[in-house]
Assembly symmetry: C2
Homo-oligomer: 343 residues x 2
């Protein structure tokens, strides 16, 4: 399997509000390093550096105002603040309006939904590089690779067309979808197996029939992002029926989780896809410090093997997973379960 990577994530550090404290983000550069190490140890020798994602592809996923905000945010912040990270502190919550403010702190609230991540000097560089990793992996599949692994950091599935949150700034999975679509795949499915609901990916494709989105995740009555991911979110308009959520309770173990994966794969089979993007979070792991499912490392082989039964050109896009020491093992177990590292 081809691995696509970039070094440009390394300078992205973020602060997050967690348990009433502002701490260095659980989502740090060591995550990608662990995955790189595990890939090397396990014989994934076919690697490629990311080529820059095109502005056209980015603009097909994200709004112009949001992209401008991301590009300029740190400079605007540094001109008027000495705080270590650009963070908003008020959001257009229930009952509030959605008009975009002019000032930066208002826009930080407008363009986000969470205080679990922030924008710092190199966030845009890293986010763009991560999207580039996804785009390059998708392009490789367009060009004939059976599958590719996009070693994305920061992750992307929580980012909507114009909101960051959940450690995500650009939606890498959606970028991969768009590259596959432009490369000739008429119907591209997204299978999101991260512990947390991929609210951003759902929102981006919610009205589209050409991109079925299926997610297996912690029930939002109990888990982030809380306000998205219920099983009655089925798509709308042309997309009606093409969004499926499988929320599961805290404590879910591998057997039940894999049963639900089978249901998800049956649903994807019915969608008659040309290609598949897998939002690959491994925070379903029992040792994850901020999640509450109970998959063990060996279970991830079964996850990969099950996805392989779809027999589709597949782009794996790295999402979450915060048990850093086991992160590489868990991710590579999925890839190993899917197929031969050398292929």
């Amino acid at each position: 399997m081809l691995v696509v990577r970039s070094d440009d994530h390394r300078a992205h550090h973020s602060l997050e509000l967690d348990g009433g404290r502002l701490i260095p983000s659980w989502e740090g550069p060591d995550r990608a390093e662990r995955v790189e190490s595990a890939l090397a140890e396990r014989g994934y020798r076919r690697t490629r550096h990311a080529l820059p994602v095109s502005a056209e592809v980015l603009a097909s996923v994200h709004s112009p105002a949001y992209l401008e905000f991301l590009v300029t945010c740190w400079t605007r912040w540094a001109e008027t603040h000495d705080g270590p990270a650009a963070m908003g502190f008020a959001w257009p919550a229930r009952g509030f309006r959605s008009r975009r403010p002019e000032d930066l702190e208002g826009q930080l609230g407008f363009h986000s939904f969470a205080a679990d991540c922030s924008i710092t000097e190199h966030t845009w560089l890293a986010a763009r590089a991560s999207a580039s990793v996804a785009a390059t992996a998708a392009r490789a599949v367009v060009d004939g690779e059976a599958s590719a692994f996009a070693l994305c950091r920061p992750p992307g599935h929580h980012a909507t067309a114009d909101q960051f949150g959940g450690y995500c700034y650009l939606n890498n999975a959606a970028v991969a979808v768009e590259v596959l679509r432009r490369g000739g795949a008429d119907r591209v499915g997204v299978l999101d197996i991260d512990y947390h609901h991929g609210n951003g990916t759902q929102a981006i494709f919610y009205h589209r029939a050409d991109v079925p989105v299926i997610s297996i995740h912690a029930d939002p009555v109990q888990a982030f992002p809380w306000f998205s991911g219920h099983d009655d979110e089925l798509g709308a308009g042309a997309g009606e029926g093409w969004n499926r959520n499988f929320p599961l309770p805290d404590g879910t173990g591998a057997d039940r989780w894999l049963d639900v994966l089978e249901l998800a794969l049956v649903a994807l089979e019915g969608a008659e896809l040309d290609a598949l993007v897998v939002s690959t979070g491994v925070d379903t792991y029992e040792g994850d410090p901020i999640s509450h499912f109970r998959l063990q490392s060996d279970d991830f082989f079964r996850v990969g093997a099950a996805i392989a039964t779809a027999q589709l050109p597949t782009v794996f896009v790295l999402e979450g997973g915060y048990a850093t020491e086991q992160l590489g093992t868990n991710v590579v177990n999925i890839l190993d379960g899917f197929g031969d590292p050398q292929s």
Copy 2:
């Protein structure tokens, strides 16, 4: 003028996310102490301790689920967290759903709209005491006082029926309105002169014709709470036409501000009120550390004098003002401008 107060605010301390840092709140116990000192120095000798606000009045302003959340939040937090303050980190922002989660961190997001305040051990005690101060002041006016000053802390005008934020937990102005209404005032107006839009008060009365709400504040395109307070928010349903906002640009000075106050008072006159509640913020002061109008201390005499021209039974409810050293002077200047301290 009668002054109503309580000591129970003192134990309420909060953390706020400000400029990418988590800091002790700008809204601290010293604010109320400064106002108490200024009142004593300036001859306000008629003071009264607050009597507890009734559950019935609280329930007429806030939802049962929200009140239960506020009462139990700290105990629930302390059972599962060791962080110094209960804070959420994700909100039902644009495009998200409004279903109430079951777990505490989800509910912290559901029941708030900002990360500029938090819930700590004594927050409920202080918030209830602050609402009790407002209720007692309103009751005194029902019982024949021409006016009363409710020395409320924490403030209230940002709190909606079921959301905290902007240092506010219970809506003290709305509590005063309800006590006046139950005491026989058929039409009670709210005049909000805080620098920030009183989004909570607006939301609580937005569909009601019996409580006209008028607010003069910083334009939300530039200032907190950003997603509420535009001049096209005019009320809805039975309340249509009974909400008026006068947003003003940063840098607004006293002359322009007082011109707009005249407009507001004309509008209130047309409403044929039986009583008035003034959400009394003095963060319009030029020295306020988090606000950007340019009223000087002496201008607040003119503010009080202008409000007196309405010739209505009036409850002043303390809201914001964060230039702590001048806070007492500025507040008491409004009261002095309004009438005789000894009356």
